[in-house]
């Protein structure tokens, strides 16, 4: 388990992380790398406390600041930093030179087998494939049996094959070692796929934390929703609330919507309404009067996405629909957008 309370250079984060993968998610400049560097001991925060298991790594008040080599963190920086002047085998030997010779050789052999690096072992990093380099980075970080693995995902995207390999390795690390992993990433899919827990970081603060599915479904604030790339955020006023029939009415700028009862909200509250683009229903508009929760909207742009088409309407409404549903109507300009009541969330 790791607890960190760090204040440095305007970074102020406080969290606990257990076993499994915890994702530090945030935009560039949010302080993800700074947080990892502070835990690894590469920089000293101005104040705060970092505890790994029961060991204090850093404590501003009592001036404890363990050097990186005594922190037992495996740190995979975004540069990977495989030593270019050593073979892969020597890279693996580097962290374990203090061990007895037999143990050293056993561990290196085991790691080479586990990461299928036997053939590449005598070669230098420059002479092997990126996938082998990636495996070696992980093998080197794990060979010293760290208590915590810190990962800084390279920000300038990995190519698809490398990313798949990366996810495979992480999944194996999670299943085989049960090691706590703290991973900085800017990729929401990675969080969703791998992390059991995520911390939403922005401008040096933790905005929200929890399992990725929950964070994505229930952003705690507008800032959190914007960071998560959630579209369809509308300012609304609650004009009716009925807990008995589980209904409510929301007044937006140009129209009103019927929604479910929102616990903890009061009549007259100004709230942010949020709808996932995939949950809106859209169809062509035939000129008749829109029914309840339907809004006529003009299509401004249709953007091709890998698995769907994203329709952007006037009034900042965004809807995702399947490509086959869009193809026959792609010249249609006037659309009818339906907001299903159960899809409405308020922040």
């Amino acid at each position: 388990m790791i607890q960190a309370r760090v204040a440095a250079f305007g970074l102020d984060v406080e969290f606990q992380a257990g076993s499994g993968i915890t994702a530090l998610f945030g935009p560039a400049g949010a302080g993800k790398t700074l947080t990892l560097d502070a835990i690894a001991g590469l920089l000293a925060p101005r104040s705060g406390r970092i505890i790994l298991d029961d060991e204090i790594l850093f404590d501003g008040a009592s001036r404890v600041n363990l050097p990186p080599r005594r922190r037992h963190c495996g740190y995979i920086s975004r540069h990977w930093a495989l030593f270019p002047h050593m073979s892969l085998r020597d890279n693996l030997l580097f962290p374990v030179t203090h061990l007895a010779r037999l143990e050293r050789r056993r561990r290196v052999k085991e790691m080479l087998e586990r990461f299928s690096l036997q053939d590449a072992a005598p070669r230098r990093p420059r002479a092997v494939s990126p996938v082998e380099r990636l495996r070696c980075v992980y093998a080197r970080a794990l060979i010293g049996e760290p208590k915590l693995l810190l990962i800084d995902e390279p920000s300038s995207g990995l190519d698809i094959a490398l990313r798949a390999e990366w996810h495979t390795i992480l999944r194996r690390v999670r299943e085989e070692t049960g090691l706590p992993v703290l991973m900085a990433t800017r990729d929401l899919e990675t969080c969703y796929e791998l992390a059991g827990n995520m911390l939403l970081l922005d401008a040096g603060r933790v905005l929200q934390s929890g399992p990725p599915r929950k964070v994505l479904d229930q952003p705690a604030s507008v800032e959190a929703a914007r960071l998560l790339g959630i579209r369809n955020l509308f300012l609304a006023e609650i004009v009716a609330l009925d807990p008995g029939r589980n209904t409510s009415r929301l007044r937006l700028e140009a129209f009103e919507l019927a929604g479910p009862y929102f616990p903890g909200r009061l009549l007259g509250d100004r709230v942010w309404l949020c709808v996932q683009p995939g949950e809106l229903r859209v169809g062509p508009y035939d000129g008749s009067k829109p029914q309840s929760n339907q809004v006529a909207a003009r299509l401004e742009r249709a953007v091709e996405m890998p698995r769907s088409v994203r329709l952007e309407f006037a009034g900042a409404i965004v809807a995702d629909i399947a490509r086959p549903d869009f193809e026959p109507r792609k010249d249609n300009k006037e659309w009818l957008v339906e907001f299903p009541p159960q899809a409405l969330r308020v922040l």
Binding site: P68, R69, A81, P95
Partner: protein, 194 residues
């Protein structure tokens, strides 16, 4: 023609360069990698001999040692040559060390290496071309300084110096200096991308 002055030059320039290496490297490392108060002053002081004319430097040093008027001694010449070569070697080594990507050193620290080990196993091997080039430049500097002065002094102590032979010796020294500088440049240009 006697080549003795040439061997003498090589020997003394080599020795003074050797003497320069430990303090030069230490200073270079400290200045390239450590933050501490007074760093810029240390930097300027260590580079001072590079900026002062040699004559002024000699005058200062001999005055400080109370060895005035000038009396030639090989030991003193060696000390002077060392001091004079140090800043060049230091500055070039510092540039070479500073060019090493921090992330390799940080990775090594994270993997449990002490600062000593990081220096010997990571920083030095990654900077070796630049460091060797610095040593060669230092050698060239020492050869030029020491050699030319020594030859002229030795020659003109004789009543009737052989001008042609003196010029030949000076040319040989010049060629040796050129060779050292050329080798250093080639080394640095051969640096592979990290």
């Amino acid at each position: 023609m006697s080549l003795d002055p040439l061997w003498l030059t090589l020997r003394y320039a080599g020795l003074s360069t050797l003497f320069c290496i430990p303090p030069g490297m230490l200073l270079a490392y400290v200045l390239a990698r450590r933050e501490f108060p007074g760093r810029d002053i240390l930097d300027a002081t260590a580079s001072l001999p590079l900026a002062l004319p040699p004559a002024v430097l000699v005058y200062y040093l001999l005055s400080a040692l109370r060895r005035w008027p000038l009396a030639f001694s090989w030991r003193r010449a060696l000390a002077l040559s060392t001091i004079y070569t140090l800043p060049l070697l230091m500055r070039m080594s510092r540039a070479a060390l500073a060019a090493v990507d921090h992330s390799f050193e940080d990775a090594a620290r994270g993997l449990g290496a002490s600062e000593w080990r990081v220096f010997w196993r990571i920083t030095t091997p990654l900077a070796w071309r630049g460091l060797l080039a610095a040593i060669l430049a230092g050698l060239a500097r020492a050869m030029a300084d020491f050699g030319i002065t020594a030859i002229l002094v030795i020659r003109y102590r004789d009543a009737a110096p052989d001008t042609a032979e003196t010029i030949a010796l000076l040319l040989l020294i010049g060629a040796a200096v050129l060779a050292a500088l050329y080798a250093g440049n080639r080394l640095q240009r051969g640096r592979a991308p990290a």
